[in-house]
C-alpha cells in the first residue's frame, strides 16, 4: 500500500543491555525474592546456605544473537569474571566476537555448556519457539536463563516445566507472550522466575531520544524525504 515505516534502532542499545544485565543479576542472586523475605518477616535468622544464588566468577555465558545489544551485554558482563563467552546465531561474526574471545557454537552446545544464557536475538520465523523443551533439557541444573528479546522466542510451557522441575535454576524475563501474562499464568507463581514489564529501553533519556527520532521519521515521511531510520520493506 506504499506505507513507509520508520523505527528507532541503535539508540536503545545501552539501556537494553544494561537492563539485561540488571535482570540477570536479579535472577541469579534472587533479589526480588530476598527483598520480599525482608519485608514479609521471612528473614528470621541467618543460615550459611539460605538465599544462596549463583555467581558470575569463572562462568560460561552463552549469548543467543550477538547483535548490537548482545555485544553490549557481553561488554558489561566481562569484568564480572566470566571465563568464557559462547554465542550462536545465523552465522559467525569473527570481528565482533574477538573483543570477548567468544566462540561461535551450535544452539545445542550453547545450552549444554552455559552457566548463563542470554537471549538477545530478533524474532524471526527461524527463532520462533527456539527455546523449547529440547533446549532447556540440555541446560545445566545450575544455569540461569535470561530473555530480553521477544516472548515468542521462548516456548513458555516448556520454560515453566524446566523451572518447576529444577531442570534449570532460574530465569529472568523482560518479555513474555502476551504482555502482561494472564493473572493465572503458571510462570507468575514461580519463585525462581523474575518477570519485568518490558522495560528494556525504559529510561527517561532513552525514551526521549526514541520519541524525538520517531517524530523525525514521521515528519520526514510526511514531507516525502529520506527518514533518519527507515525500515527497508
Amino acid at each position: 500500500r506504499g506505507i513507509r515505516v520508520g523505527y528507532t534502532p541503535d539508540v536503545l542499545t545501552d539501556a537494553t543491555a544494561e537492563l539485561s544485565v540488571a535482570l540477570l543479576l536479579s535472577a541469579c542472586r534472587r533479589l526480588p525474592e530476598a527483598a520480599q523475605q525482608v519485608r514479609s518477616g521471612g528473614w528470621t535468622t541467618w543460615k550459611p546456605l539460605w538465599m544462596c544464588g549463583y555467581g558470575l566468577s569463572d562462568s560460561t555465558v552463552g549469548i543467543i544473537g550477538l547483535g548490537r545489544i548482545g555485544q553490549a551485554v557481553a561488554r558489561r558482563l566481562k569484568p564480572f569474571g566470566v571465563r568464557k563467552f559462547l554465542y550462536t546465531g545465523s552465522g559467525p561474526k569473527p570481528e565482533t566476537a574477538a573483543e570477548f574471545g567468544a566462540e561461535f557454537v551450535p544452539l545445542t552446545r550453547l545450552a549444554e555448556e552455559s552457566d548463563f544464557v542470554v537471549v538477545t536475538c530478533a524474532l524471526t520465523p527461524a527463532t520462533q519457539g527456539m527455546c523449547n523443551k529440547d533446549f532447556f533439557g540440555r541446560m545445566k541444573k545450575t544455569s540461569v536463563f535470561v530473555n530480553t528479546s521477544r516472548g515468542a522466542v521462548v516456548n513458555q510451557e516448556d520454560l515453566y516445566n524446566a523451572l518447576a522441575s529444577g531442570q534449570i535454576a532460574a530465569a529472568g524475563l523482560d518479555v513474555t507472550t502476551p504482555e502482561p501474562l494472564p493473572t493465572d499464568h503458571p510462570l507468575l507463581s514461580l519463585k525462581n522466575c523474575v518477570i519485568l514489564p518490558h522495560i528494556g529501553s525504559a529510561t527517561y533519556a532513552t525514551r526521549s531520544t526514541m520519541a524525538v527520532l520517531a517524530a523525525n521519521n514521521l515528519l520526514a515521511g510526511l514531507r516525502g524525504e529520506p527518514m533518519p531510520h527507515e525500515l527497508k520493506l
Binding site: A22, R30, G55, P197
Partner: protein
Amino acid sequence: MWYHKPAINEELLQSLPNLKVVASSGVGIDHLDVKLLSSYGVKVANTPFVVSADTADMGMALLLASSRRIVEGHQMAVSPDTEYFPADWLGVEVSGATLGIVGMGTIGYKVAERAKAFEMKILYHNRSQRKKEEESAVGAVYCKKIDDLLQQSDFVLLAVNLTPQTHKLIGKRELELMKPTATLINISRGLVVDQDALVEALQNKVIKAAALDVTYPEPLPRDHPLLKLKNVIITPHIGSATTKTRWVMMEEMVESIEAGLAGLPVPREVL
C-alpha cells in the same frame, strides 16, 4: 563461627580455657574483639578474598536494581491488578552516571571494574590513594575529601570495613551533601550509616533512594520505617551468598582451625 554469633566476651572465654582458634566467616571482623581474644592466647582467622567477587556483584546488582526499578517492575509484572504496562513507566540509566565508591579496598575496586563496563564515571574516597596504574585501569578519580565525592555522585556505594573511624561515617551532614537525585548503596556494615538520619533523609527526599544489603540490627524489627519506604530495597545480608563461595568459606575456616589446633601457622590469621 558463622555471622556474628555467638558473642565472644570475657565470660565465654573464661569458660573455654582450651579454646585455641576462632574461625569467622566472611571478611568483616567488627564483631570480634581481637585484642581480647589475643590476651587469652586465641588466634583469629577470617575468609577475606573469597567473598570479594560475589559481594562486588551484589553491589552492582543493588545499584542496577535501584536505578532500573527491578523490584517494583517485577511486582507490577506479576500482580493480578496489572492490566497493561504503562508506556511512561521509566527508570534512570546507569550508563554515563557518576559512581562514588567509599572504601576502595578489594571489594570496592572490584565494583569499580564492573562499573567501568557500564561507562560510569568513577570517583573514590579511601584512607590512601591507590597506585596510578590501578586508578587508570578503571578510570577512577581520587577524592581526598569525602565531601567532593558526595556532592558529585549519582550513586554512593559504601565498601569500607566497620571500625571506630567509619562508625556513622554517613550521617545527616553527609546525606545533605549528596544530590537529591542520588542513591545510597550499602554493602559494608549497617553501622557505617546513621540509620535514623537515613530514614529522615529518605522520607524528606534529601536523597532519592537507598539499596541496602546490610542494616543494624539484622534483621530489622518488624515495624522499622525502612521496611515501609517505597524508595528502599533491602536484602538480607547476602553479599557472599552463592553456594560455591559459601562452600569455599567453610573449607577455609576448617583449614584455619585444623592448622591452629596442630600448632601450625594459621592461614588467613587476623593479626
